[in-house]
Symmetry: C2
Subunit: 393 residues, 2 copies
C-alpha cells in the first residue's frame, strides 16, 4: 500500500483529478486519474467496471450526480493508502483519446479573434464582426473522426488555394499552416431530439474541459469557405489534451464573462454568465509565443450549449464543442499565428528566427492552468503536435 | 420452405436487394434485405453473425470484395426456396436507422440549386455561383446525431431570425421551414489519417445510397450562416430512407456527369466521371410537386469523396455524405421549396391551396427509382417526415 504524495504546487493535486485513458505495455486501455506524476487505475481502485472501458463515455453517461459521487470518493481514497497495483508512473503509460467523440462543433466565441479574422479575411467590410456576431454564438460542425490525442503527428495537408491575383486555383501542400488555441467542452449527458438545454441546466450536462488545437490551413480555408464555411482547411486534424479536467474541479475558476451588449435574447440570457479564468500558453518549438486568456471569451460555455440545442437538436454523451480561438486584446495573447503575425506580414521571433506560419518539423504545445481550491492551480496536461511534410501525390 | 415471388415490375426484385435493419414485435434489430414486400433476415438466412447486429456497420467494414460475395450469394439463395422463419411481411416490421453514422458531410453539387440559392441569398452578386464553385465540390460538416430514419416526426425548430428591415433578431418557431431532396452516400470502408481516396478508388469505399431529406429552416440559416456556414438552420433533423441500395445494384444507372468546365484539378479529374440516373419524386401531402433528376448533378460521388480526403482527413465505416439539393434545369425539378416557390414569392398548388413553406401537419415523402439490369427498376424506399408544431418555451 502507498500514499501518493504530491507537492503543494503540483498542477495535479487532489483539487484537480482529471480523467484520462491509459495503457501500459500494450494493455487494454482503461480509465485513470492523475495525481502528481502518478496515474491511478480507477476500475481497480474503485472496483467499478465502468472504468474498465477504453473511453470515458460509459462513466460520463451515468450523469452529474454520479460524477460528484466519484469525485468525492476519489478525493477521500487518494488521500489515504491505496494498493500499489493501481499506480503507474506517468512516464510509463501511453495516453489515448479519452472520449469517443460523437458530434463536434467549433464555436467562434472570442470577440478579439473574430475581429482580427474579419479584418484579415474581409478587409473590405467596415465592421470586422458580421452583424449576427453579438446576437448568437456562431459555430459550425467539424470533423469528429480526425480529433486526435496529444502527441499525434500532423501531416501537412494538401489542397486547393488561390491567391487574390491567381487566375485559377493551384493544388499543393498548404503554405499557411496555422494553429488555433482553444478549450474543448465535453458533453457528459445528452438531450433528446426536440428538447433544449437551458443556460441554467448546461452545467449538469457538461462533464469537463480539454485543451484543443484546431490546426488550420489558412490558404485552403480562404478559398473554400464562402458560402458554406470551413471544411478541408480544418478537417485534416485537431489535437486534444488527454486529460479531461472535470468542470467540478473548476468552480474556483469561474469568472463573469465580459459585459454582453446588446443584451442576448432570453434563451441566451443568464443572471451571471460565467467564463473560466484559464491561462493558456502556446509554445512554438519550445518558446512561448502567446498567452491566451480564456476569461476574455465573449460567449460562455453554457450559452454555447444552450444555443446548440435551442432548435431541438439532440446531443449525445461524447459530443464535444470547442470555443474557437482564444485571443485576448494584447498582441501576445492571440491564439492563432495568422493573428499573431498579422496574416504573415509581421513575423514573430522563434529561437532567433523570424517566423510566420508552420514549417515542417515544427512542434506546437498548448498548456494551461486555472485557479483551484485553497490557492492551488489546476493543470490541463498538454496538446502537442509536430508537423510532418506533406505526402507525395 | 418458400420461394419468394416478386412481380417483374417490382422495384425490389433480385437486381436491387437493398440492406436495412428491422425488428418485429420489439425484437432486437438485425440486418435484412427486401425482396418485393418481404423482409428477409440475413443472419438466419446466411448463418453469419455479422448480420445479427443493430446496424450495417460491421458488415460494411468487411469491405468491397465481401459486399460482392454476399450479393452474389443472396441473388442465388433468394431465387430458390428459403426457410419460412427468415421471411417477414414488410407491413409487420419496424425499420430502424440502417447505419451508425460517423461523420456527416453535406455537399452542394447541383449547379442549378447553387445558382438558384445564390440568386435568392446573395442577389447583389452578379454571378450567382461563388468563384470556387466549379473548382471544388463545396461541402460542410453537419450533425450526425440528428439523422433520423423515415417516419420520424420533425418538430418545427425555433431559433433566431432577422429580416432585412429588422432592427434586431427575433426568436421563435421557424416561419420558412423547407426540405432539401438529396441522395446520401454511405462509406463502407474508411481510410487512415494522412491518406487519400482517389476518384478511381472511391467506388471500392462506397457501400450504398440512401434518400436524404436535409430539412432546412431558411430564416434561421439566412441570419446565422455568414461567415462559418449553416448550423442551427440544418442541425435539428435530417431524414434518411431505411434501405441502403448497394452501389453494386446501380451499375446500370451510371451516366456521365454533365460536362465539367473548367477542367477539374488532377485529383478531381476522372476519365469518365459518373453520376447516377436516379429519378426522385417529392410528395407534399400526397401530391407530387417536384421530380429532381440526379443525373443533372455537376460533381460526381467519387469526386466528392476524393475531395473530402485530399487533405489527408481519415474516413470511417458509417461516414455519410449527401449530395446537396438535387435540382434540374426545369422549375418542376427543383428539390427545395425555396427554389420551387422562388423564395416564397411564387406559391405552388398543393391540394388546391397555394403553398410556399411547410405548415404544421404537412408531410413530405421522397421516393426514387433508377434503371436496374435487364430493364428492371431499382427502388429506394422512402424518406418520410411530418411536421409537428414547435415546442413551447
Amino acid at each position: 500500500m502507498t500514499v501518493v504524495t504530491v507537492s503543494s504546487d503540483s498542477l495535479y493535486g487532489l483539487d484537480n483529478l482529471p480523467y484520462g485513458v491509459y495503457s501500459v505495455d500494450g494493455s487494454q486501455p482503461r480509465v485513470a486519474t492523475r495525481l502528481g506524476d502518478t496515474v491511478v487505475d480507477l476500475a481497480d481502485l474503485l472496483g467499478d467496471e465502468v472504468f474498465a472501458r477504453p473511453t470515458l463515455n460509459a462513466f460520463m453517461a451515468q450523469g452529474y450526480e454520479r460524477w460528484g459521487q466519484v469525485r468525492a470518493e476519489l478525493r477521500e481514497r487518494l488521500g489515504q493508502e491505496v494498493p500499489d497495483e493501481v499506480l503507474f508512473p506517468l512516464a510509463d503509460v501511453t495516453l489515448h483519446m479519452p472520449v469517443e467523440v460523437a458530434d463536434y462543433v467549433d464555436f467562434y466565441a472570442s470577440e478579439h479573434h473574430a475581429s482580427n479574422l474579419g479584418r484579415l479575411f474581409r478587409p473590405q467590410n467596415p465592421d470586422p464582426l458580421t452583424p449576427n456576431w453579438k446576437h448568437l454564438p456562431i459555430g459550425y460542425h467539424g470533423r469528429a473522426g480526425t480529433i486526435v490525442p496529444s502527441g499525434t503527428d500532423i501531416v501537412r495537408p494538401r489542397g486547393q488555394r488561390k491567391g487574390p491575383d491567381g487566375e485559377a486555383p493551384v493544388f499543393g501542400p498548404s503554405v499557411r499552416l496555422d494553429i488555433e488555441a482553444e478549450l474543448g467542452f465535453v458533453v457528459g449527458t445528452g438531450s433528446s431530439l426536440g428538447d433544449t438545454i437551458s443556460v441554467e441546466d448546461a452545467e449538469r450536462h457538461l462533464f469537463g474541459v480539454v485543451l484543443f488545437n484546431d490546426w488550420s490551413a489558412r490558404d485552403i480555408q480562404a478559398w473554400e469557405y464562402v458560402p458554406l464555411g470551413p471544411n478541408l482547411g480544418k478537417s485534416f486534424a485537431s489535437t486534444i489534451s488527454p486529460w479531461v479536467v472535470p468542470l467540478l474541479a473548476l468552480q474556483e475558476a469561474k469568472v463573469p464573462t465580459p459585459h454582453q451588449d446588446p443584451k442576448p435574447l432570453p434563451y441566451l440570457a443568464a443572471e451571471r454568465p460565467w467564463g473560466l479564468d484559464v491561462d493558456l500558453e502556446v509554445s512554438w518549438n519550445g518558446e512561448v509565443v502567446s498567452r491566451p486568456p480564456y476569461r476574455e471569451m465573449y460567449w460562455s460555455p453554457a450559452q454555447m450549449l444552450a444555443h446548440l440545442t435551442v432548435n431541438g437538436a439532440s446531443t449525445r454523451t461524447g459530443d464535444l464543442f470547442a470555443s474557437g480561438t482564444i485571443s485576448g486584446p494584447e498582441e501576445d495573447t492571440r491564439g492563432a499565428f495568422i493573428e499573431l503575425t498579422w496574416g504573415g506580414t509581421e513575423p514573430v521571433q522563434v529561437a532567433g528566427e523570424p517566423r510566420t506560419f508552420l514549417q515542417d518539423g515544427d512542434e506546437v504545445v498548448l498548456t494551461a492552468s486555472a485557479p483551484g481550491a485553497g490557492g492551488s492551480r489546476i493543470g490541463f496536461g498538454e496538446a502537442r503536435g509536430r508537423i510532418l511534410a506533406a505526402r507525395q501525390a
